[in-house]
Symmetry: C2
Subunit: 185 residues, 2 copies
Amino acid sequence: MAHPSLPKEEVVTRLLQVFRREGYDGASLARLSAATGLGRSSLYHHFPRGKEDMAEAVLTLSRSRVVSLVLEPLAAPGPARDRLVAMAEGFGEFYESGEAACLIELFGVGTTGTQFIPYLTNSIASFVGAISAVLIEAGQPEALARRRAEDAIIAIQGSLVLARASGSTAVFHRILAELPDRLLG
Amino acid sequence: MAHPSLPKEEVVTRLLQVFRREGYDGASLARLSAATGLGRSSLYHHFPRGKEDMAEAVLTLSRSRVVSLVLEPLAAPGPARDRLVAMAEGFGEFYESGEAACLIELFGVGTTGTQFIPYLTNSIASFVGAISAVLIEAGQPEALARRRAEDAIIAIQGSLVLARASGSTAVFHRILAELPDRLLG
DNA sequence: GTCTATAAGCAGATAGAC
DNA sequence: GTCTATCTGCTTATAGAC
């Protein structure tokens, strides 16, 4: 295999899988290399600053998936409830039905990975903003809408933690299913 | 310094601080040595299997703190609300007012740390069991009590994640303050 | 129970051939 | 755009003196 190999998005997808499984510290170049089928040096060709660049690419890809799976459904036309249901489905897909760790857990711990936190802060704020916009549109006062939106994100992240701790994704699915009703009150 | 040095509990407390700051993978022997003031070899004297034994000691210490800060207040005599308020305070102290990461985040990611998950599964189950016992005692049907107890743990863990992502512990404190009312309905 | 010294391996990263 | 070879530093872990 001495040429183009995989399309870049597929490469980044595989990097994402490794980061999700191993965390930032645990994602060694050896593993990243094995997962992509690219030698160490090839990885450096595509990502000159090494792991740091790979993490950035992974976060950029995640961001675009979040936009299409969660934010766009929330901004789409239609009844509030339908949009919230679509959002819940989008979260389910993004987190691979609860099997995948949230990115904050992966990058928020340790020394090196911490530099990416601002990136994630931004995503959280987007979620809260987009959800509360739907609730305000549905007639809720702004303060209540924002609090409920924040509670929804808390419940999603918390249930992901419990899912990993318990070895079962049931709790994650329960939270997703309840989301629309909880948000609409 | 060529003798007893620190009491063992103090050593383990410092190890806990490092694990919490760096995660399992990021907690190198160099850092663990610096934090405790013990040389690498002294650490191996106290913890023959190295990091693995240190992590186990850290989890055991955490477990005993959780018992005295959270589980005992829940099991104490007195009105349900008072016990739930005491529990919320205990969680606040255990998680250092939201500054500290939850242990599942630290040990649940990566390859090596994962072996400790059963330990944490157990703690989660204890929380849910102890909280729902209080709620049942207060007259709630068992299924509702268990669901609310689980929701409470989810909210705590989720708010810790958001606290780290946002750089502010405000959300963690809000959740703790609301806990008793939410649980009692 | 502490220390110094050292081993063996893997981490991230680079140079240069093809 | 891929590869092989190599480098430096840090990782865990051990041996043995005091």
